[in-house]
Amino acid sequence: MAPFIRIQNISKKYGKLLAVDNVSFDLEKGELFSLLGPSGCGKTTLLRILAGFELTTEGYVEIDGQDMVDVDPADRPVNIMFQNYALFPHMSVSNNIGYGLKRASLPDNEIKSRVSELLELVHLNGMGERKPSTLSGGQRQRVALARALARRPKLLLLDEPLAALDKKLRSETQFELCKIQEQLGTTFVVVTHDQEEAMTLSTRIGVMNNGKLVQVGTPNEIYEQPQTTFVADFVGEISFIEVTVKEQKEPYWLMQGAVPIHVSTGAKFRINQKVNLALRPEKISLTSKPTGKINEFPVEITDWAFYGAGTQYRVVGPGGINLKLYESHNLPSKSNARQPETGFINFSPDSIIILER
């Protein structure tokens, strides 16, 4: 079966600058797909290509079996929610939401009932007559969402949908957005630079860098099995150790850097191959005394920060290995006054991410 949305070999050039570089991915119906990347990575350009505001230099977009290349933004079964919401300041909330329905020449009474349905959906009942300027940021965001959903698009594009909201409101709105998405079954593509937002929202994430789509996967895959140093570094906290493959000693590979490190055998290596080992902070345990576990070495604690739910440490091991590690407070945390200055760390050979160098 053909995928619901197919994005095939999309490239976009601005003069000599390649803003989007040969991007391909498919979307299934009802997916919530996030395009994640640093600013200037081409994710917004890609979104604008999907909306029809930008023409592609190469490649094509297919939605529900229909080629979109020559289709005007007005005629695409796609709607977009802008980062600044782009509400019409001279129209009431109802007229904003009903704008797209009116363009579709729906009868007035149907527009009215659809608008009140949408107001209900985004919890803005009774706000229909207000002007956008009298609403709070969160309410404006919901008007923009309702307006974008009004035409029942096959694909909804959201450009940094939560960026303009404060932190507390953002997490509430995140869940609200997911709920609405599940309820309607509309396919969403969200552009964001916030990896936490991408993690919590998405069924799948596409990580972009320099115009290229570097990895596509579920949030779990992106976090636990990043395929490049860029993805590992961009998504979540991580530390790197440079090592050389030494020998295979079943069931481990022995890697030699500043310290010997054992890695579970899964992948194939050449002897003397140089690789990067990557470690998530929460995978590393910190103890005051040696435990005799595998991959253990003494460290000096250089810095720590209390996060409430846990404490993050920066430690330096033999040979100047810098590592970040995170200890969650399973028991009530004690006063911060006496933090140890040295200790031992260990980590499981299974928890190491191996990246090519």
């Binding site: 005007d72 007005a74 005629d75 019409f88 001279h90 363009r103 009004a150």
Partner: protein, 296 residues
């Protein structure tokens, strides 16, 4: 010391323009009202001021004669008034029609050339208005440049009459007043967020729909400001119709000029001017009042 300068600076910034307005705008207007209630006489100045401060204190003896005279001979003033208002109205309309696409184009063009385009819009202001009118006459005359070209190209055998027509008058008016319309329109259109237009397109609006439902309503402040800037001076305009129009086009501005300089009847001239100001100002005040009512 610093504080003193700050405070002094603040006072200066507020009071200097205010003082300027009082001295050169309010006082002449008050004096004009004063003259309009004065009695005419053959002397210098050619009137006995209604209100004056002399050696024996101040006296206040207003006369209504000037206004009564205008009321009595209202038919003599009606047609010039209608001519003036019609001229101002159509000049405003034509300026709006020409200026809107230009302002839109400037507002949507590359940021780096916007300034150059705006300077080009203002450039005609750097030469004398009178000089530009004579240049226009040179173009439109029966033996002017345009007719020469038309005859040379064989499009017409005899020169086309362009001078002393509505065409020549409105050409002059548009030439003079277009920048006053373009600038406020540009200011309101340049503030229009592109994403709002894209949002409308995304929601299924075609070009005309976007203009009608989004761009036009959001540029109304610019349209109003530009229209006032053109309409108000255009009502009092008499040089352009006198130079470019026929003798039958008597404007209120010309009537005032005649009363002042031919008849040396300053009080009547002042009274006409005051009535003209009232005709212009009252609708604006009323519109603003309505606006405020609607908002509250």
């Amino acid at each position: 010391m610093n504080y003193f300068f700050q405070k002094f600076g603040r006072i200066l910034v507020i009071w200097l323009p205010l003082g300027w307005l009082l001295l050169f705008f309010m006082l002449p207007l008050v004096e004009m009202i004063n003259v309009s209630f004065s009695e005419a006489r053959r002397a210098v100045p050619p009137y006995i001021p209604a209100f004056q401060i002399g050696s024996e204190g101040f006296s206040f003896r207003p006369v209504l004669d000037n206004y009564l005279l205008i009321y009595e001979y209202w038919e003599d003033y009606l047609w010039p008034a209608i001519n003036s208002i019609r001229l101002a109205f159509f000049s405003t309309l034509y300026c709006l029609l020409f200026a809107y696409p230009m302002a839109w184009w400037i507002a949507r063009s590359n940021k780096s050339i916007q300034h150059i385009l705006l300077i080009l819009v203002l450039m005609p202001f750097w030469t004398s208005s009178l000089l530009r009118m004579y240049a226009l006459i040179g173009l439109l005359n029966p033996n002017g440049f345009i007719n020469d070209v038309l005859i040379w190209a064989g499009i017409t055998v005899t020169p086309i009459q362009m001078m002393q027509t509505d065409f020549s008058i409105y050409s002059g008016m548009i030439l003079t007043y277009l920048p006053l319309m373009i600038l406020p329109l540009y200011a309101s259109l340049v503030r229009l967020d592109v994403s709002i237009i894209e949002a409308a397109a995304d929601l299924g609006a075609k070009k005309w729909d976007i203009f009608r439902t989004i761009v036009l309503p959001l540029s109304i402040p610019g349209i109003v400001a530009g229209s006032l800037l053109v309409f108000i001076p255009a009502v009092g305009e008499f040089v352009i119709p006198a130079l470019l129009g026929g003798p039958e086009q008597l404007m209120l501005g010309k009537v005032i000029w005649t009363e002042f300089f031919r008849n040396r009847d300053w009080p009547v001239a002042a009274a006409i001017a005051i009535i003209l100001i009232a005709i212009i100002i009252l609708p604006i005040v009323y519109a603003r009042y309505q606006d405020r009512e609607r908002i509250s």
